[in-house]
Subunit: 351 residues, 2 copies
C-alpha cells in the first residue's frame, strides 16, 4: 500500500516521540513492502515562533493533501499563564480538528497485564479493563462563542450542540460497541445542562437502531468516580468534548502511565493520530519521554487503513518491550536510563 | 448557644442519613448544654410530588429564617431519563444555592488511616492525603442562559463568570490555605476557555495579597489525573462550578467511599451543610446508606459557629466507629448488617 503521511511533531516532547513512531512505521513499510511517504510540517508554539501562526496555511495544505496525519503534541508554558496572549499553540490544534472535521476522538484504555503493578490503583480493580472512549471533538464549549467584556471583568464560553453533531459520533460509538462488549455508556450532566439533555435524547433515539447494544447513562460527576472504582464495568464511553477531555485523561491512570495512551481523531474525510499526553515541556530533550503512546498511535493509523496485521505487529512489539522492561523511567523501576530512542529502536528491531 | 437549624431531608437516602445527623446534633446539644431547634421542610422530588415545586416558597422561607441548613440529598431517576421534564428535583437545589447566595462549596477530602485498605488506590499513594476543595457554586455553566431551538435540534448552555464572583471565593480559599499547608491550586482550562483565563488572571492578582501562600495552576484534564496519581501534592484546590463537581466526586475515591464526604456551602449570609453523595435511590430504605457524610456535615455546621470542641467530638466518634468497624456495608468487610441507624446510634452514644 502507498500512503502519504503528514507528520506534525509540534512542541515539547512531541518531536522526540514522533520520531520513534516514524521509525517504527518505516520498519513496517520495509517488512511488508509498503510505501509510506512522510511530509513534515509545523504546528503549535514552534509554528508561532517561525510564522506567528500556530497552524500556518502551509501545514493545513500538507494535511489536506495526505492520507493521514501523525501528530505529536503542542503547548508551551510561556502561553499558559499569560491570559492576555492573543495567539496560543492550542488554537493550532483546535483549528486543525475543526478544519479537517475530525469530530470523533477515539481513546482506547487498557490495563496491560505486565503493568498492573505500575498503576496507583489496586490490581484487582483494574485487571482486564478494556475501555474505548468516544469523545466528540469539534463541538461544545471548545468551539462556542467566547466573549470578554470591554472592561475585562466578565468572560463567557458557550457550549452548543446540534442534533447532527451528536448523531454522527453516536453511530460510530455504537458500531464500535457491536464489535466489542455491546455496551455504550453516555456520560453527560443531563440533570443540569440543556445540551446534555439533547445528547440524552438523541443518543436514546439512535440506540433503537442498535438493538444488540445496551445503552447506559451516567452523570459526569458519578462517571469520574466509577472510572476509578470499577473501570471494568465500561465498554464504550460516549461523551461530549469537555467531559471527554477530563474523563479520558483521568482514565489514563488505569494503564499506569499516560505515556501509553494513543488516540485517533477521525471525521468523514480525514484522520489524525496522536498520543493523548501533552507536550510535557519539562521533559523535552531529556530522553525520558515515553514514545509508546505515539507508536501505538501509529498502530491505530495502520488499523484505519485496514493494515491489521501490521498494526498487530507493532502492538506485539510494544507488549514485548513492556514485558522485558525496555521502557522509559515513568514505567521502569528495574533499569535506569532506557531512553526514548532506545525504546523506539527495540520496537523497530522487533519488527 | 441557641441555634435554629432548617432540616431538608430531600429524596432517596436523604431522610435516613439526615436523621442520624440530627440525632448526633441533639446529643451534642445535651452534652454541651446548647439549644438546637430543628425545622423540617421539603425539597426535591418529594416536594414536587407534594406541591409541584422542587423548592416551595415555604421551604425557602424556613431556610432564610434559620441560622443554618442541614441538607440531605435530592434526585430521582424518574426525571433523569426524561429530557422533556419541565420540573426537576435538581432545580430545587440549584435555586436554593442561588437564592441564599451560597457561592462557596467547601469539600474536605481525607484519607483515614483506618480506611486505607478500602480505597481502590494503593496505600502508599494516598496515606496522609488532606485536601480541601473550594468549588464555586452559584455561577458558571450551571446558571448561565440555556436555550433549546424551536425545532428541538440545537441546545446550548452559557458559562459566564464575572470578576467579583471569582474574587470572593478566591479570598476564602487563600484564607483557608493560610491555616493549612499554604498552597492553592487553581484548576481551570485556560488554554481553551475565556472564562478560565479570567479565573487565572483574577486569582493571580489576588494571590499577591497572600504572600505566604503558594499558587499553582493545573489544567482540569491534568488535575483529574494528578488527583489519583499523587493526591498528596494538593492542599487547597480552587475551581469553578462544573470542574469542582467532577473533581470532588472523583476525589471521593481516595477516602474509600463517597459515603464519607461532607460539604459546607457558604455565602455572606447563609450556610448549608450536606453530604456530597447524591440521593442513591437504589439504596433507599434498605438501611445500608452510610450516614457518616451527613454526620460530618453536622460537624462542619458546628465549626461554622465556632463550636470547635463539639465538632471535634463528632469527628472522634466517627473515627472510633471506623476503627471498630461499626460501619455500613460500603466500608464493612467484617460485620454484616450494621445499619444506617446503628452507626448513628453508636456515634450518639459515644457523645
Ligand atoms: C491541548 C488541549 C487543547 C487538548 C484538549 O483539551 O482537547 C488536549 O488536552 C487534548 O486532550 O487533546
Ligand atoms: C444534584 C446536582 C445538581 C449537584 C451538582 O451538580 O451540583 C450534585 O452533583 C452536587 O455536586 O451537589
Amino acid at each position: 500500500m502507498k500512503l502519504k503521511i503528514a507528520v506534525l511533531p509540534g512542541d515539547g516532547i512531541g518531536p522526540e516521540v514522533t520520531a520513534q513512531a516514524v521509525k517504527v512505521l518505516k520498519a513496517i513499510a520495509q517488512e511488508f513492502d509498503h510505501s509510506f511517504q512522510f511530509k513534515y510540517a509545523s504546528a503549535g508554539a514552534v509554528a508561532i515562533d517561525e510564522t506567528g501562526d500556530p497552524l500556518p496555511k502551509e501545514t493545513l495544505d500538507v494535511c489536506k493533501a495526505t492520507d493521514a496525519i501523525l501528530f505529536g503534541a503542542i503547548g508551551d508554558p510561556k502561553y499558559d499563564n499569560n491570559p492576555d496572549a492573543q495567539v496560543r499553540p492550542e488554537q493550532g490544534l483546535l483549528k486543525l480538528r475543526k478544519e479537517l472535521g475530525l469530530y470523533a476522538n477515539i481513546r482506547p484504555v487498557k490495563a496491560y497485564d505486565t503493568l498492573l503493578d505500575k498503576s496507583p490503583l489496586k490490581k484487582q480493580f483494574i485487571k482486564g479493563t478494556d475501555i474505548c472512549i468516544y469523545r466528540e471533538l469539534t463541538g461544545g464549549i471548545y468551539f462556542g462563542e467566547k466573549t470578554l467584556s470591554e472592561d475585562g471583568n466578565t468572560a463567557s464560553d458557550l457550549c452548543v450542540y446540534s442534533r447532527s453533531e451528536i448523531e454522527r459520533i453516536t453511530h460510530l460509538a455504537f458500531k464500535s460497541a457491536q464489535s466489542r462488549k455491546r455496551k455504550v455508556t453516555l456520560v453527560d450532566k443531563a440533570n443540569v445542562l440543556e445540551s446534555s439533555r439533547l445528547w440524552r435524547k438523541v443518543v436514546t433515539e439512535i440506540s433503537q437502531e442498535y438493538k444488540d447494544v445496551k445503552l447506559d447513562y451516567l452523570f459526569v460527576d458519578n462517571a469520574a468516580m466509577q472510572i476509578i472504582l470499577n473501570p471494568k464495568q465500561f465498554d464504550v464511553i460516549l461523551t461530549e468534548n469537555m467531559f471527554g477531555d477530563i474523563i479520558s485523561d483521568e482514565a489514563s491512570v488505569i494503564g499506569g502511565s499516560i505515556g501509553l495512551l494513543a488516540s485517533a481523531s477521525v471525521g468523514d474525510y480525514f484522520a489524525m493520530f496522536e498520543p493523548i499526553h501533552g507536550s510535557y515541556p519539562q521533559a523535552k530533550d531529556l530522553g525520558i519521554a515515553n514514545p509508546i503512546a505515539s507508536i501505538l498511535s501509529a498502530a491505530m493509523l495502520l488499523d484505519h487503513f485496514e493494515l491489521y496485521e501490521e498494526a498487530e505487529l507493532i502492538r506485539e512489539g510494544v507488549e514485548r518491550s513492556l514485558k522485558l522492561n525496555i521502557t522509559t523511567p515513568d514505567l521502569n523501576t528495574k533499569f535506569n536510563h532506557i531512553s526514548t530512542t532506545k525504546v523506539g529502536d527495540f520496537i523497530e528491531d522487533f519488527i
